[in-house]
């Protein structure tokens, strides 16, 4: 399989001197469901903005299905569909017109555009709203409208910048199912999101970016294997007055009085239950404390912040 996206040495310095990207390399394979994660201001939207021609790069190369955006921009764009973070359609236009007009910009004749627009508006549950001005739609509908608009020319690579921001859980799940479906049908997807459970549920490969640098670019499985400790939350039949001591495990009570147990990789969860049984504590339910990817993400970003601080302090000391 070819590469859907190849980025090499990409840098971006804005007019005010802020360096948003410091030479990143990134490759996304065709057919992948890829997440680009990072805290606010890490460089995610700048990276995707450059790929979509909304931001001018300072240096580096970007290729979409082998088409260099410096020398073959038109061919690169034909392969791209973009769902931006902010609503960016004309609020006064009707839903159907917004989607068919976008198809027209890609040179798709109106008759064909209407068929494609109907297909995606139906799939995304917006067909009944086709004659409604966009400003009358709910936030979730507006997000789905942007997805329909991005897909109307059947791109091979779909870029979604926080597509489910502000969307309720039920709708978010249905959007996940839709994205998984089009990914199965062959569309490569690159996603940025603040909901790390979204990335964990959907994506096969993940890159973590912070301060304009890629900290990690690997498969989700490999990333999660780096998680040494997982925290389980146990609800007990009787309320506990204090955290019981369990041999080899760190325990504590959370704010609601449930028992939290840290289990390191290689430790047996059975031992937790055997010890609790011995103490006469009956467990009625159990869950993992937080999204595993979230824990890992927070740790990496914190480590990077510490490293940056040390480097800055070192530089200051050297100059003094």
């Amino acid at each position: 399989m070819s590469n859907a996206l190849e980025i090499a040495g990409l840098t971006k310095t804005y007019g005010d001197g802020f360096q948003a990207l410091k030479g990143i390399d990134l490759t996304v394979r065709e057919g992948d469901f890829f997440a680009l994660l990072g805290p606010n201001g890490a460089g995610k939207s700048t990276t995707l903005g450059i790929v979509c021609s909304l931001v001018n790069k300072s240096a580096g190369t970007v290729k979409v299905f082998g088409h260099d955006i410096d020398t073959d921009l038109s061919a690169a764009k034909v392969n791209l569909g973009v769902v931006p973070q902010e609503f960016n359609f004309n609020q006064f236009e009707k839903v159907f017109d917004i989607v068919t007009t976008q198809a027209g910009y890609y040179g798709i004749p109106l008759r064909q555009a209407r068929v494609s627009a109907e297909k995606y508006l139906r799939k995304l549950g917006l067909w009944d709203k086709r004659d409604t001005p966009a400003r009358m739609l709910s936030g979730g509908m507006k997000r789905r409208l942007m997805i329909a608009r991005a897909l109307v020319h059947e791109p091979r690579l779909l870029i979604l910048d926080e597509p489910t921001a502000g969307v309720d859980i039920e709708l978010r799940r249905s959007m996940w199912a839709f994205l998984e479906e089009i990914n199965r049908e062959g569309t490569t997807i690159i996603l940025t999101t603040h909901y790390l459970e979204e990335a964990e549920a959907l994506c096969r490969n993940i890159a973590i970016i912070d301060h304009g640098l890629i900290l990690r670019n690997t498969s989700k499985r490999e990333l999660l294997q780096q998680l040494h400790v997982e925290t389980f939350v146990l609800d007990t039949a009787e309320p506990l007055e204090g955290a019981p001591g369990l041999d080899g495990f760190v325990t504590r009570l959370d704010d609601e009085g449930a028992l939290e147990v840290d289990v390191e990789k290689g430790q047996s969860l059975n031992r937790v239950f055997i010890e609790l049984e011995g103490l006469g504590i009956r467990v009625v339910s159990m869950r993992t404390k937080a999204n595993r990817l979230e824990e890992l993400f927070i740790r990496m970003v914190e480590e990077n912040a510490v490293a940056n601080k040390s480097a800055a302090a070192g530089a200051k000391g050297a100059s003094a």
Binding site: C52, V55, D97
Partner: protein, 257 residues
Amino acid sequence: MKTSAILTAFNTIVIREIRRFTRIWPQTLLPPAVTMTLYFIIFGNLIGSRIGQMGGFDYMSFIVPGLIMMSVITSSYANVVSSFFSMKFQRSIEELLVSPIPNWVILAGYVTGGMARGLGIGVIVTLLSLAFTRLEIHHLGVVVVTVFLTSALFAIGGFINAMLATKFDDISIVPTFVLTPLTYLGGVFYSIQLLPEFWQGVSMVNPILYMVNAFRYGILGVSDVNVYVALGMILVFIVLLAAVALRLLARGKGIRH
């Protein structure tokens, strides 16, 4: 993009523009019709009847070509500057930027949309003028070429204004403080032969004077300037401004970070 795809993209922009200004016709089509009717009544009929002849014609016949041209100029400019700046403001310009449309097609699409409104207004004002005077076209070719070129020129001007504008104030400065004075001083209401020699010379550097007079020549057969010089000047300005607009688009001025 293939030629057929480029044509589809171009048509899409033009149709969208026409749909936009016809949807909001009380803001775009009605006001110039009302304003020009008032000009015909007040300046043409009430005051004009006391002025007598101008350039060998009754005053109403003299001002009609200038008023048609004035409405074409302002409408062509206003359509592009307001539409393109609104797209920037709402960020729906990104729909165009992510698509494979070449920059020259974007410019051509918006300019054609502006011309559609400008020429549409020109037709409306011409039809209204027939209620006040008889129009006998002296040279149809000059009329058509002049009005098309002038409309195109000011549509490109509106596009450049929209590219450079960063706030809504910026899109009204040029029409209010540049376009309107130049139009009023461009021989719409008078022949520059009435002016002292010095002010005649000053008037000759006003480009709108050439457009109004070329158009007047097409309708009445009289002009204060050489018609071919006027048409040549319009063409040169079109080429220059189109080059500036394409340069701004290529740099992404105000539309790409």
